[in-house]
């Protein structure tokens, strides 16, 4: 099914939702308003002519400096209908996205990964912890303003041959870099 076809089926089912067709070179793409996301997903899963019963992937992209900054991207698959759909939700920096874990259980870890990497909060998620990064990590690495290389003090178990003056100078230098 193409994008206008899916929007035509979907619009009467979810009241008050204004869908926007996205451009794409492969599958149908729909922009979904964030407050109608869960209703839309339930309609997509349960409507017989759509039946998107598999949530393939949840990911996001950071379009800094565009506003709103993020796009959360859902890839859906209908096994019986042999078609795919890409849902996109525009999200600002401190906004919330409702979780779709109640619709597809596989969203659990995928949304955790998006939170871990982008800092997008999924409202209603029962277990929104870091997935891939260590628990005490600061920041969200996939954001475009997160540095690619972080300088951290080298951990070594051999005594370093370094004078006290050099040592203190290094400390000062590192502190400046970290606050930059």
């Amino acid at each position: 099914m193409d994008t206008p076809g899916i929007i035509d089926v979907l619009s009467p089912l979810v009241s008050g939702a204004a869908y926007e067709a996205g451009t794409s070179v492969d599958t149908a793409t729909i922009y979904v308003p964030v407050d109608r996301l869960v209703e839309t997903c339930i309609a997509l899963r349960d409507t017989p002519s759509l039946r998107f019963n598999v949530l393939i992937e949840v990911t996001a992209a950071d379009y800094l400096p565009r506003d709103p900054r993020f796009e959360v991207v859902y890839h859906l698959l209908s096994v019986s209908g042999r078609h795919r759909l890409r849902l996109k939700v525009r999200v600002a920096e401190a906004a919330y996205v409702p979780t779709v874990q109640t619709v597809w259980p596989s969203a659990g870890w995928l949304e955790r990964e998006v939170w871990d990497m982008f800092g997008i909060v999924f409202d209603g998620h029962p277990d929104l912890r870091r997935l891939l990064m260590p628990e005490d990590w600061e920041g969200h690495p996939q954001r475009k303003d997160f540095p690619v290389q972080i300088q951290k003090a080298v951990q070594t178990y051999q005594p370093l041959e370094i004078s006290q003056a050099e040592f203190e100078a290094n400390l000062v230098r590192d502190r400046v870099k970290r606050t930059q």
């Binding site: 598999v54 393939i56 990911t59 992209a61 042999r82 597809w104 259980p105 990064m133 260590p134």
Partner: protein
């Protein structure tokens, strides 16, 4: 008699456990030998490949994505190359498509062999590992012949292949394909009717078709539960629609069903490889003719100024890809390997995201093992065929 005091025991399995296929940590809460709850913890192998990819030029991402799922390396690079080619609007010559099919199927065989060896070793059939690795060695030799690199050949490139097939390639592949079906019989003779193996696997880790699809376990796990979803049949890519092969299925959804599906998949892969090697001519086109992406042939680089300039442009600046996004799925050894690529129109990707089948398999692990025996955890992890590099990226 006074009431006995009972309590559950918490066991930490991994991250350094030989049967967790790398560094997966499971916190198991046990009531005697029964599992009350299982909590997987991942991320020990996270290397930030997706972040690194955003700093590289388009072609330089190929070796990076191959290191994600290190057992199915070339299905990662195939998904990535197809995705970028979709954004560029490139069409591959038929010979390139056939070679890619052959490489993808050989990669599936090589990955399934490691799965077979490690999975059966973990539940007691230790000698299987040596038999499986013996045949995989031949596949690694073919990789070495192709590109000089045994694990991550980076032979599939955006715009085609790295270079033409080497001399002796057909002989090596044909020698392997004539030898291998007899070896599958040998493996099945060791396991399929082995009473110990059957008792360890039948009725263990059962997942229904609805659950498998809801948890996103599309691939061999869902097919062992009755689904017929295979990307090669549903959304054919790189010419799979012209090949004659079946999609193996089972209905039980247990560890033994997944074993039978993967064994049958190996036979089907051999069938596809035989058709592909028949079609591939010893020499011919090995890349498309788009001069934006594919460098000019060397004899022109040495003799023509324009070709020399183009050569240096491609290797220094790289090429640009039209702005937009695309998602391309391929049927990897572990299920649907997909790549989601966003381009902003420059010579570096804006976002590269791989869909990781192992991540989904580990996410669904608690539903498969809870209520079962602790000894079956090892069988279920093995049968789910998880690769932590794929899971953690």
């Amino acid at each position: 008699m006074a009431e006995l005091r009972t309590e559950t025991m918490t066991v930490n399995m991994g991250p350094q456990h030989p049967s967790t296929h790398g560094v997966l940590r499971l916190v198991l809460e046990l009531d005697g030998e029964l599992i009350q709850s299982a909590t997987p913890t991942i991320g020990y192998l996270h290397t930030g490949i997706e972040k690194t990819a955003e700093q590289k030029k388009w072609q330089q991402v190929i070796p990076l994505v191959e290191r994600m799922d290190y057992l199915g390396a070339q299905s990662n690079s195939l998904a990535y190359a197809l995705c970028v080619e979709k954004l560029l609007g490139l069409e591959m010559p038929q010979r390139v498509r056939d070679i890619r099919v052959l490489i993808a199927e050989l990669q599936r065989l090589s990955s399934h062999l490691i799965w077979l060896g490690t999975h059966s070793m973990e539940i007691g059939a230790v000698s299987m590992l040596f038999y499986a690795i013996r045949e995989r060695e031949l596949l690694l030799n073919i990789n070495e012949l192709l590109a000089g690199f045994r694990f991550f050949p980076s032979y599939i490139r955006i715009g085609g292949l790295r270079e033409d097939l080497p001399r002796g390639f057909h002989e090596a592949v044909n020698a392997f394909l004539s030898r291998f079906p007899k070896k599958i019989d040998e493996y099945e003779g060791l396991l399929t009717k082995n009473d110990i193996y059957l008792r360890r696997t039948e009725g263990v880790g059962v997942v229904s078709q609805e659950d498998a699809l809801a948890w996103g376990l599309v691939g061999p796990i869902a097919r062992a539960a009755g689904s017929d979803y295979d990307v090669r049949k549903y959304f054919p890519y790189t010419g799979y629609e012209t090949y004659d092969f079946d999609v193996p299925r089972a209905t039980e959804g247990d560890v033994f069903a997944r074993y039978r599906v993967r064994m049958q998949e190996m036979r089907e892969s051999v069938k596809i490889c035989l058709q592909a090697i028949e079609r591939i001519t010893p020499s011919g086109a090995w890349a498309c003719d788009d001069t934006r992406v594919v460098p000019p042939p060397k004899d022109k680089v040495y003799t023509e100024m324009e070709a020399l300039i183009q050569h240096f442009l491609i290797y220094s600046q790289g090429f640009t890809v039209p702005a937009g996004d695309a998602y391309v799925p391929v049927e990897g050894p572990r299920g649907e390997h997909g790549t989601y690529v966003v381009s902003d129109g420059t010579n570096r990707p804006w976002r590269v995201k791989m869909r990781a089948p192992s991540l989904m398999a580990i996410q669904a692990l608690p539903t498969l093992v809870e209520g079962g025996l602790i000894a079956d955890v090892v069988a279920v992890i093995g049968s789910n065929d998880v690769v932590m590099g794929d899971c953690d990226r």
